[in-house]
Point group: C2
Chain length 558, copies 2
């Protein structure tokens, strides 16, 4: 049997979030594997109420754990690194990352009680990590977080470039600029690039992207114009933006204070690892409270309206002694990620009620994206000249559009969503297998499967309410007293204006009286009968069929 | 005591949706009242899981029902008319509306078993309805539904213009054009306009609005270019757009089929009431299935991604025998209302998986808004020259911005959100009272209050899961057997890898054994103790504190 090269996304392909990609090389079914990124996505009430984080399904990786050589983390965004501490105990393989990313990862591992040395901190290209049949280099590429990397992966079947998240930024303020010469070299070494697995996030943005540096002048001007306190929010990990904002505050004679744990951690790790230089000094909240508001600028977490972040706290009132007031300004130096609109609008209105002026990104004047737009992606195709393009990091519509564009240029391409294994040994990608993949939920401190039924039950209770019926059956299989009914999340009275719980109890009393002994003796049949009575009566009374749990307590003969 | 003129929004002020506004005139506390609009807003999982519709709180209106003269409906959008059939039984007052709006309202009343004659169909200005101290005219104004009306309300304290929803459209395709001359007359009759209560939806849109007619050429061109089946969606009530789309389809030689109950109802009532003329003929789904797909165009409901609408049905597979395939095109001739992004994106990706090309509004090329933008609103201020502007139909941020703009021009203004009663007798609006207002939920067939706790319990169960403990206490206040535990929406096993339900049962057995007789005899204390045990153990095991219901069954001494 011949060796083959495979690509298998477990997360991030068919969605934006929880990135996790696998490459394999070797004999079919015995390929040696590497994993790139282990990220999270954030749950919402519609899909996963009560869940803390969503991660890739690792069942396939666990079943093939002995084949995994290593895990590589491209950059420190949560959708690329956020699952590492949660899933690592299931895989227990060496992890590689660059300095800034690795340090942030080590902090996460430490919190989870995993030795931080699990992450090997490595230098970028030309440093090469050997992982089984793979020779892997971290290649600096510009993005909205310092030290983002593409992975150049040399295999016996050719060179893969796994882009990670990137934009073409020649002046990124913090971190490494996009370097066309280096990428030209990478494309022209040896046989060139066989496969480009490429970020598709902004494939529908028709204009070329703009550099982080273009924000300096407008932000500085805007901040200089404000009279009251200024509060600006952006993504905590956008260290370049934090620096630009802080410098603009300083230039306007303001004392700058960072609020929010994530943001302070980012700045401190960026300074510690040497990726952030010349950040203006900031003061803690305890000092900020004493600064006259016209001289103060807060830079806060919560650009997506997250309920516990600093922006939301301020929108609800005092936070660490600081408070927004009429005449203050709140600036979103960020864009709302689709799906987060409600939370962001909630904050905007809360500030409006306080008399605070809220300013958004003004169509890009105060924010630029971290991802390459369509013309930038096309420039990368042209620069790297891959034989195969695999679109990744996108919903299905992004992947499909990216593949269409590539094929329009004569590049082989295939849309492969999570669980789709591609054979990329030859010049055409070929779907060879579909792995069943779900999702893993972090729920409290448990990892549960998306299909375990736990979250399905929560959604059902939220939509339909929950009726619990408790029935006691004596030693002789005769109901002892009446059924007790407890209702949660249901209207108290319906059509007949009598309490529904009482009506149900009455109806169940009749049902139990009439029920044949054989039915009463059988848990499953009794449950089914009770459930039917409750649902039917509820439907008549309140127009809803609730979830019903039946607790049957059988008294043991003494 | 002198008479006064009051304004009281119960819905629509501080939110976009569930419009319900009250005007009153008379002695303080005895003002005679009119109600303008009774609309709904749509619930989501975050705020109101399981709820069918959200409407204004009518407690204040019910308490003052004897003072209400009449209810006026400005137009037939659900956020203005949707609550009428649900809330009318609580108010039982005459309703007035124009022909198209009234007919749609009558259909709703009929469905609810209310005599349709409850709605009085009236002609527009100069026809005047006398309602106590109010003389009310319906004045045609352009919007995205036929026959939208502003209300001109003459009172002893001066003239009020209640704008309803509107845009300045001179060529609206269907329905009446905006008529500057008529509005000039309205502004200059008698003492002119005292109060303008004005739509604020698009106050943040800086460009002048565009006419519905500007879409004809681009839509016709786009539809002519497509090869496969075309499916277009827009708001069902946008009859003008339906006509434009159908005409474009016809021009391209396509057979047109309308899919979705709401859309068919709108077209049929618009034709019946004479507001829609010259709509191209359409065929039912049963005929459409036999038309070659290249010659077929569907116009469907579900532009906001609603799960049960035709667009969502088609995104899941066959619907009424019709099915989308590779090479087909799906057009959103609509904009996504903030908060609906997830549902819309879900559909887009489902179509992408089928190989269908999805086209959105292309930044307004294929859709225009039904609301006046900022320059249009300013033009209306200038044309009507009100002494007082009350911003309505907007979230707080919209109302505040609109008030700021008015005040910048020397017009008196005040932000009054739901429940804020303004005295507008004199030249300055004055807040005179805050009425406590909540929301009314339609849940199944019940109307429940938002603060009744029903929905709160659902949300808590969805976030935390639900544990039910059943305990039987015998005639002598001694627990009979062990506690039974039922869990819904919780991880089965936690830290110690044993089933949580069993661990809880064991812990409760110990608790009950140790519990003093006095505690066991007291329902409230026993419940509290049980709840504490369950929550604490769950926290240790799975890292979550569930909702806990305790059913205590006390066996009666015989």
């Amino acid at each position: 049997m011949k060796d083959r090269l495979i690509y298998l996304p477990l997360g991030g392909a068919g969605e934006i979030g929880m990135n996790a990609y696998v490459y394999g090389y070797g004999v079919e079914g015995k390929e040696r594997l590497i994993v790139i990124d282990l990220g999270v996505t954030f749950p919402d009430m519609d899909g996963a109420p009560g869940v803390d984080l969503i991660m890739a399904d690792t069942a396939w990786l666990e079943a093939n754990a002995d084949r995994i050589e290593a895990i590589f983390i491209t950059h420190a965004h949560e959708d690329h690194i956020g699952a590492l501490a949660h899933l690592w105990p299931r895989l227990r393989k060496p992890v590689y990352a660059r300095k800034f990313t690795g340090r942030l990862g080590q902090l996460k591992l430490e919190e989870a009680g995993i030795p931080p040395e699990t992450i090997n901190i490595v230098e970028p290209r030309p440093t090469t990590i050997e992982a089984g049949p793979f020779k892997v280099q971290f290649v600096p590429i510009s993005h909205s977080i310092p030290e983002s990397s593409a992975m150049v992966i040399d295999t016996p079947a050719g060179r893969i470039v796994h882009s990670g998240d990137f934009k073409l930024d020649g002046t990124p303020i913090v971190g490494e600029a996009f370097d066309p010469q280096m990428w030209h070299d990478i494309a022209n070494e040896g046989d060139g690039i066989k496969v480009l697995a490429c970020d598709s996030t902004n494939i529908f943005s028709p204009q070329a992207g703009r550099s982080e540096a273009t924000l300096q002048a407008p932000l500085t001007e805007f901040i200089a114009e404000q009279k009251g306190m200024i509060v600006a929010t952006t993504f905590a990990s956008n260290v370049a933006r934090l620096k630009t904002l802080a410098e603009a505050g300083k230039a306007a004679g303001r004392t700058v204070c960072l609020l929010g744990r994530a943001m302070k951690k980012m700045v401190s790790v960026a300074e510690e690892t040497g990726v952030l230089l010349g950040m203006p000094g900031t003061v803690p909240a305890e000092e900020a409270v004493n600064v006259p508001r016209g001289n103060l600028m807060l830079i806060v977490t919560g650009s997506q309206g997250e309920r516990r972040a600093a922006s939301a706290q301020l929108s609800r009132g005092k936070y660490l002694g600081l408070e927004m007031k009429e005449g203050d300004t709140f600036l979103f130096s960020s864009k709302t990620i689709p799906g987060n609109e409600r939370g962001v609008i909630r904050i905007m209105n809360a500030f409006s009620e306080m008399g605070v002026d809220v300013v958004d990104d003004r169509n890009g004047l105060y924010h630029v994206s971290g991802h390459a737009n369509r013309p930038d992606l096309e420039a990368v195709h042209d620069l790297l000249k891959p034989k195969i393009l695999i679109p990744m990091h996108g919903e299905h519509r992004h992947l499909r559009e990216h593949a269409k564009i590539a094929m329009g240029k004569g590049i082989q391409s295939e849309v492969a969503t999570n669980g789709t294994m591609l054979d990329i040994t030859h010049d055409r990608p070929k779907v060879v297998e579909y792995i069943e993949v779900g999702r893993t939920y972090l729920d409290g401190n448990c990892l549960i499967g998306a299909l375990d039924g736990v979250v399905r039950d929560r959604i059902r209770m939220a939509l339909n309410g929950h009726v619990v019926v408790s029935i006691i059956i004596d030693e002789e299989d005769v109901p002892l007293g009446d059924a007790w009914v407890d209702m949660s999340g249901l209207a108290v009275k319906g059509r007949s204006r009598k309490p529904l719980a009482e009506l149900v109890e009455d109806e169940l009393a009749e049902f139990l009286e009439r029920a044949p002994a054989k039915l009463v003796a059988n848990d499953a049949k009794l449950e089914e009968g009770v459930r039917r009575v409750v649902r039917q009566l509820s439907m008549e009374e309140i127009g809803k069929k609730p979830e019903v749990s039946v607790i049957i307590s059988r008294l043991a003969a003494e």
